[in-house]
């Protein structure tokens, strides 16, 4: 990799490793306001259009300690980490939190946060989880109007249609540049580790989008100038799926690739899922974002949304084949119920197609890394053996 690529990746990695610190630094440098948001489908464009920095609050690498006093251990690592960070004052730099996703564990964490930190306003504008009912559009549009009004009120700003359209364009640009990286990776034209890819996505959720776009454009151009086949070393191309709202531990991503695999595609939230669809840049911007939300499932199905006609498992099998991956690794955060509901169908579909897949359960802490390594190594051996047999 050339020096410029490494420099940009280093910048993204530093933000990804300390998202609260990066957002705080932005606030100190600009004097602007920062709005925390939660995964998964929040239209952060509305915050951006108010001149504030939307920051998607991340799961913290730090071990959960004080947070245990606010949340039972049988909640997912993301929500427990959010509560832990809040108790430790790590969100004190925020001007408010706004979110819209209907997930029982996320809502629970948000309720705990607002009671434990009464000075931090937490606004919830419920995005209808049913995407294709006759009233879905009307309801989602009304919710976004309420959200816009609330952000204007809390930040003392006015959001014009033009500013919102401009934000949509900035966000689209960001998504398009990242999708370009995915395309290059899928086509085996660039070498970007799974950890670097995550850093790109995670920093996009935190940094000022214009700055991120500028760095991304440079990165894409540099990588395009120096194509390289990352699987030329004989590593096994894998597809990663899961982690619907928070980042997989970088150590797990490193572990997978260190066993002799190359991640060539994914549907992770800190991955392709986050950038999968753009919003219309003309017309009524609220309607545009409403459609953006309601149509997300058609591009990458999300099991937290209700759309009975769409099957994540069937879509996933096609996506894995399209990426020409040799195996699927399902990364399932412990206690993630939407993923628990979906997994049996994924298992069934991949077994029926005789396509290799491995389920790895991940936790915020206490991941048995060495056990995980043995499982990944065995999985890769099995794939290679199968390929060798097929070649005979």
């Amino acid at each position: 990799m050339d020096a410029n690529v490494l420099k940009i990746l280093d910048k993204f990695s530093r933000v990804a490793n300390d998202p609260n610190g990066a957002a705080k630094a932005w606030k100190e440098a600009t004097g602007g306001k920062v709005v925390g948001t939660f995964a998964m489908h929040f239209p952060a464009e509305v915050v951006h259009a108010a001149g504030a920095l939307p920051v998607l609050l991340q799961s913290d690498e730090e071990q959960i300690t004080e947070g245990h006093g606010g949340m039972y251990p049988f909640f997912c690592g993301y929500t427990r980490s959010l509560v832990d960070q809040n108790i430790k004052g790590k969100f004190d730099y925020l001007d408010c939190i706004m979110f819209g996703d209907h997930c029982v564990q996320l809502l629970s964490a948000a309720d705990v946060i607002r009671i434990q930190n009464p000075s931090l306003h937490v606004g919830f504008y419920q995005l209808i989880p049913a995407l294709k009912d006759n009233w879905s559009f009307e309801n989602a549009e009304r919710t976004l109007i309420r959200l816009k009004e609330a952000i204007e009120g809390k930040l003392g700003a006015t959001i014009s249609d033009d500013s919102l359209r401009n934000s949509i364009c900035v966000f689209n640009k960001n998504r398009q540049l990242i999708r370009r990286l995915y395309e290059l990776r899928r086509d085996r034209r660039i070498r970007l580790s799974a950890v670097h890819m995550q850093a790109i996505l995670k920093s996009s959720m935190v940094m000022d989008k214009a700055e991120h776009n500028s760095l991304l454009a440079e990165l894409v151009a540099s990588l395009e100038r120096n194509p390289v086949d990352p699987t030329a070393d004989g590593s096994v191309p894998l597809y990663l799926s899961g982690h619907l709202c928070h980042a997989t531990k970088p150590r797990i991503l490193e572990l997978i690739e260190s066993c002799g695999a190359t991640v060539v595609d994914d549907d992770l939230y800190h991955g392709f899922r986050y950038v999968s669809i753009d919003a219309a840049e003309s017309g009524d911007p609220i309607k545009s974002l409403t459609s953006w939300y309601l149509d997300r499932n058609t591009v990458v199905p999300c099991p937290t949304r209700l759309d009975p006609k769409v099957d994540w498992d069937g879509w996933l099998l096609e996506a894995v084949k399209k990426a020409d991956a040799s195996g699927l690794v399902v990364l399932m955060p412990k206690f993630c119920e939407p993923h628990y509901f979906s997994y049996p169908r994924i298992k069934k579909t991949f077994e029926a197609a005789q396509f290799p897949h491995l389920r790895l359960e991940t936790e915020h802490e206490f991941n048995a890394y060495e056990g995980m390594r043995v499982r990944v190594e065995s999985f890769l051996e099995m794939i290679k053996h199968r390929q060798a047999m097929a070649a005979v």
Binding site: G69, Y72, V112, I115, F124, I128, P129, E337, Y340, F341
Partner: protein, 453 residues
């Protein structure tokens, strides 16, 4: 119970020979419940359509349309109460449904997997339905209605059932808003956010009626809905009045009695029977008050149960607390839900009032409002301590319990006992842990009341 007190040790030791004093009328509840399940098992033979649903009480709508219904939680609770939950949970786990998934959903999904794999009683080679397990006797759905308050798992559960049945069963979804309270104007059952949510619920319920009409091919009978809701409203009123009688000391009925009799206001058909049941229950409670009879032999402690019930432990827990001389007087699950605000239902036009009740059920109200209601309730019922049952696979019910513990401790000086369990998965229940937590709490209550001096 004996109290051992010495300079080195102060311990509460439960007795072992006491039993809670069960209400006679509960037998009538059990009879009604049995009759309901029998009628559901026979529904296909009688040519009735069957609807599966979870969450809020959609049964009045189904009853008005002459559709039989299976409430998913009720089915799972039935299996657990009869110690028959094991096979369906095993089938679900073998199909890949994780043990940490909502045990109601897992048990119910297991029933669906069993049915889709082994067929219906009619297609099981003439198997005698009486020889089938309870799970196998639950008829397959002809339609699914999804209407879950707060818990996103509910909608995903219904979608899972829909997919287990190969997407061949029509499904109707109601998206329930959660009353978050973005503005200070948002109060319990009032404020613009609540009104907007009620309007949205009413719209969806009316659409759901159109869906029901589509399934039956008949116009919906609104008069029948009014009639059903008139019975339901009266039953709910009698139930609330009967519960209010238990503010006296000793309390004539306990939380476990109210748990046992949730069915008439949850999923039994609305009719004169449920009105008569609560009238009799109220009368028996009044008789006990007149005779000074309590629900436990000795009522030294009055407790509140927060969280959902261990359905396979009702009788056991009822006696356990009797042996601690403790009466679990009330609970969030039983006392703050199930047509709890019956008075807002206009029986001539009941849908809006039904929606208002659905939106204020015990998990549909966010913590700030819920905590205020619990604090008021504890004061009204002279509660000494709170049991916080963290149902491991019911995050919706369990999440606010640290907040509740903190609030009642700070504002009422009330001790709590937190412990884990589950609704219908017995493996999460740890008896000795509960003993030690409960005993510690009772000691705190004694200390607070100066009983050790």
């Amino acid at each position: 119970m004996t109290i051992i007190a010495s300079s080195a040790e102060t311990r509460i030791k439960p007795s072992t020979d006491k039993k809670s004093n069960r209400l006679q009328v509960t037998k009538l509840n059990n009879k009604m419940v049995n009759e309901y399940w029998q009628s559901l098992f026979q529904a296909p033979q009688e040519g009735k359509l069957v609807c599966w649903y979870e969450g809020i009480q959609m049964n009045p709508f189904l009853q008005a349309a002459d559709i039989a219904w299976c409430h998913g939680e009720a089915a799972a609770a039935l299996l657990a109460a009869r110690k028959e939950e094991g096979p369906s949970q095993k089938v679900a786990e073998e199909a890949g449904y994780d043990r940490e998934l909502c045990s109601y959903a897992r048990t119910h999904a297991g029933c669906a997997v069993m049915r889709t794999e082994s067929g219906t009683p009619e297609t099981m080679g003439g198997a005698n339905p009486k020889e089938l397990s309870l799970a196998e006797r639950i008829p397959a759905p002809d339609m699914i209605i999804s209407a879950y308050p707060f818990c996103s798992t509910g909608q995903q559960w219904d979608e899972t059932i829909y997919k287990i049945y190969g997407k061949k069963v029509p499904i109707f979804n109601i998206s329930m808003p959660w009353i978050w309270g973005n503005e200070p104007s948002s109060k319990y059952m009032s404020g613009p956010e609540f009104r907007e949510s009620v309007a949205f619920m009413v719209k969806q319920l009316k659409e759901c009626i159109a869906f029901i009409e589509e399934q039956t091919g008949k116009p919906f009978d609104y008069d029948k809905l009014s009639e059903i809701m008139a019975y339901t409203k009266k039953a709910a009123q009698l139930r609330m009045e009967a519960k209010a009688l238990c503010k006296v000391k000793p309390s004539p009925a306990n939380f476990f009695e109210w748990t046992n009799s949730i069915a008439p206001v949850n999923f039994l058909p609305g009719g004169q029977e449920i009105v008569d049941y609560y009238a009799k229950k109220k009368a028996e409670i009044q008789e006990r008050i007149d005779a000074g009879i309590g629900s436990v032999p000795v009522e030294k402690y009055r407790l509140f149960w927060d969280g959902i019930m261990n359905w396979n432990k009702i009788g056991y827990l009822s006696d356990k607390f009797a042996n601690y001389d403790a009466c679990v007087v009330s609970g969030r699950y039983t006392h703050l839900g199930f047509w709890q605000d019956y008075q807002v239902i206009d029986v001539d036009d009941p849908i809006e009032g039904m929606a208002m009740n659905f939106l204020t059920c015990p998990i549909s109200v966010s913590a700030p409002q819920m905590i205020e209601r619990i604090i008021d309730h504890c004061e009204e019922y002279s509660i000494d301590g709170i049991l916080l049952h963290g149902a491991r696979t019911c995050r919706a019910f369990s999440y606010p319990q640290f907040l509740i513990a903190d609030a009642v401790g700070k504002r009422l000086g009330m001790p709590v006992a937190m412990f884990e369990g589950d609704m219908v998965d017995e493996s999460f229940y740890k008896d000795e842990l509960i003993n030690s937590r409960v005993e510690a709490m009772l000691e705190q209550i004694d200390a607070k009341k100066g009983r050790w001096v």
